[in-house]
Subunit: 370 residues, 2 copies
Amino acid sequence: MANEVESTPNSYPMNGGIGCHSYVKNSHIQRALLHAAKDVITEAIVEKVDITNPWFNSSRTLRVADFGCSVGPNTFVVVQNIIEALELLYRSKRHNPEIPEFHVFFNDHVHNDFNTLFRSLPFSHRYFAAGVPGSFHDRLFPKSTLHIIHSSYALHWLSQVPTQLADRNSPAWNKGRIHGLGASSKEVREAFSAQFSKDLQAFLNARALELVGGGLMLLLVSGLPNEFHSSQTNSAIVLDLLGSCLIDMAKMGIISEDNVDSFNLSIYRTCPGELEAFIEKNGHFKIEKMEELINPVRWDPPDFQMLASHLRATFEGALEEHFGNEIMDELFERFTNKIGENSHIIYDQQYIKETEIFVSLKHRVTDYEV
Amino acid sequence: MANEVESTPNSYPMNGGIGCHSYVKNSHIQRALLHAAKDVITEAIVEKVDITNPWFNSSRTLRVADFGCSVGPNTFVVVQNIIEALELLYRSKRHNPEIPEFHVFFNDHVHNDFNTLFRSLPFSHRYFAAGVPGSFHDRLFPKSTLHIIHSSYALHWLSQVPTQLADRNSPAWNKGRIHGLGASSKEVREAFSAQFSKDLQAFLNARALELVGGGLMLLLVSGLPNEFHSSQTNSAIVLDLLGSCLIDMAKMGIISEDNVDSFNLSIYRTCPGELEAFIEKNGHFKIEKMEELINPVRWDPPDFQMLASHLRATFEGALEEHFGNEIMDELFERFTNKIGENSHIIYDQQYIKETEIFVSLKHRVTDYEV
């Protein structure tokens, strides 16, 4: 239960508080996605949860957990959606509906801003709320206690940058780049994919123990279409622009070039084929459904400031840890300008090929022993 | 589940963070008390928890909650003690011990500093941890889910100052004083006692629903011996000194006298007889044991700065809300000096008559229906 992964330097929370650079104020891109996911989540719960299963039938409390909840408000939107779907299911399937009470757990890294999360809990929430600090690559709940598990926009965060990338003598040394999305180097791509596989296995193994028999896991994973090279995505283009701002600042002597070369964001975008293979390899879960979601407002309207603010709220923690706080304002000012100058590339429809992969998974159990 | 009480202005958390005025750095007085309570808590668990009771016997998870946990580290000491007592019980009573997993819930007001609490969780804790934001005068958990409930040093905080005290025309208008401990006015005393009764009933009613049949509730309540007038206690004397600093500042025109008259701390000290009567009146719990604990290091050594810092960490939130942040440093500088000048009274043994009342309560249930 000690959070080994937690102690690595790669557990950067989203920006806390409610200020202009906070995640709370800069997460509407993710919110649009969640609205797009609402129907598939409702459908999965109504169709796939069997409330006559003893784990549901005998329980007067249903436990729902959101892994990687961040500071809100998106997590509240998802949870409300899940609760409403469960209520709908209980009302529709029982003559004399006795709806269980709901216990909802909001999980994120121990350095997440739980104070802001708790203070922004919707006043009229119809569930009991709790916060759970710790890395979702570790166990966080007792055995067989969760009925619905959800995670969105979180599994693309790795527990660490692959170690090879920090080794100047490795073929995976990522010189001049700050991320592994669309890496031209085979070694960099493989190192990131292996790290994602390892982290996903840790996540699935922990959740397999925590989920009740017949329980449902709903994942939204930032990804790419199959056979699609991620250098063609605007995420890769935008992060290359952010990297080029750091290189500019290195050339001006503000930071060192070595410091730029040794920095990498610990994120990875999988594709449906790879994700399916990794889940099958794990073996604890049966894939009920996998589909690609389209986020209708993802890059529209092309508001440079909004995009820069969104990325600042997301990545500032990692950048600050490596480069220090004092260069952040200058870095993001340069970045905002670069986005403006390159908007014709960023918003070119041919590059908007990212996808969010929705997967609903059911616990593979041989019996329903409670 | 909406926290009605939470929205009142009287939910002041202890000072957050880890700075010099924080509760984390200024709660060793409470910690000494908890060490003194260790043995009675262990004894209560080992003697009074029946692990053959179906709520314990069939559960693979035992849930423990600390109500009014504040920011630590004291809550971790208590919880560790409870877990160790439960482990001892399971090991001693079973031939083939299968110790359940533990899920521990740390509760305090939504404005408590949960970030600091979570970041200071002991690295090697042998339980799954969660934070629960909200007033313990409301429901905070689903029905019949907690096995052990604990609360120490918290129930003397009322949900609000009795409304009569804010009414200039009421006989309970508490002119010239900032608290109700040892009030010479019968009306003030009765108003505080009635508020304590109301809050305690709300607490017990909520916990009666949340505790499993046969579950144990362990309370440490700041109190006074029976028939003991609280004006003779050093708490009352010390708070009178704090009040006199405010009056001095009013005379100097720094704050208004009206502002001092309208301010009251929402705390109350009960006595064993009154506490027993209120619990009996509630009816949900059987008192297994009630005793007065002696805190060996409570006012010793007489370190003025420590005492002032302790009270600042505890009461600054309430004072700041009423008088504004800008007078806090001056107020507590004056207060520290006054404690020094009056140490012969504060540390006079005849006044050290406060007590901590330990009560162990068992859920009154007619059957053990799980």
